[in-house]
Point group: C2
Chain length 229, copies 2
Amino acid sequence: MLLFHHPISAPSRFIRLMLAEYREDAELREEQPWQRRPEFLQLNPAGTLPVLIGEAGVAIVGAFAISEYLDETRGPMMRDSRLMPDSPLGRAEVRRLVDWFLVKTEADVTRALARERVYKLQMSPAQGGGAPDSTVLRTARANIRQHMRYLGWLAKSRDWLAGERLSLADLAAGAAVSVLDYLGEIDWTAEPAARDWYHRIKSRPSFRDLLADRVRRLPPASHYADLDF
Amino acid sequence: MLLFHHPISAPSRFIRLMLAEYREDAELREEQPWQRRPEFLQLNPAGTLPVLIGEAGVAIVGAFAISEYLDETRGPMMRDSRLMPDSPLGRAEVRRLVDWFLVKTEADVTRALARERVYKLQMSPAQGGGAPDSTVLRTARANIRQHMRYLGWLAKSRDWLAGERLSLADLAAGAAVSVLDYLGEIDWTAEPAARDWYHRIKSRPSFRDLLADRVRRLPPASHYADLDF
């Protein structure tokens, strides 16, 4: 399998974590969506990440479609390590939280910070590259607190974010938080329960590859790869 | 079951269509999400629509979680009328398109037009009500063309949008298009294949309730409920 991804894209990281948890190998290919490469737009006319070329050679587009596809085709063999609960209501709660972290947190916080602080470094001036827009940064940063508070509340109320077992909800949150943590945007003193949860998920073998990611011209926050942050 | 919805919310309409296609009755309750009612925020801290109170009395939040829940619990009994294909790759294509119409079209076009032209009529000045912002309207309207072109391309290439059978992809597109059509925002002469497809889906019994919707102070475009538009 082949995954088109970007290291500072939370939905891409979500699928990388899921592939690792389900012990699937996929070749990673970095895509810069703002280039709007015609070959990539043929795979995904929306021009967004991630896109997985599955074992049948067909493009599976978007974190939502890919995660459900991987769970449908691999989940049943994972038994107790399956990342989706068995009950329809349990699955609904996991999907609500995947949506929260990969659509809402993405729109309120992550996409803006990734674009302003990372993508703009890699874009040409004609593509919109250049200095970050301080108004956009300020709005996104103001929103982080609410999202971290909700994460803290979930982490305090439950063993894992969607209930008793690790699920796709934890991977979605881990993907979003790890992007923000790379950028040094998280105040870990404010939400101790969220910090404990992140410590647990960050220590999983599936996280290793993400912690080794480095973006050209922007090294991670000093504690980013530290398991005792 | 009880569905919290708004008549001019595409994700709410998507679930209403699905409930009708699966012949499920649900009481409809109109929610104005900008009111941020504490009781509603308890059901869904994201404050978004739709929310379904299922037969177990538990809140199922968001179009993505609700549609998968209804398909998991009702789909198998629907046999040939099931709105999700049997193959994992077929399902991935349906999910890609649901995502396209309910996340991308929503962000590029529908949410902005609904907010500027409808919600602002119903909001108090303190809530952000008032005249539409012409810059926002202009941007959203410029994006409609690209979305209608893509819909036209899908309608020309396939029997239904995701393949040979009616699926959730058609309901998601129908929900988004019907909101824009209520508002008279669609130029039907530009995309004849999209028009033929919309004519087919609009004629289904599941669409009847949507065509009877009326918003206070904003009557629909004259052809909105007309099956020979």
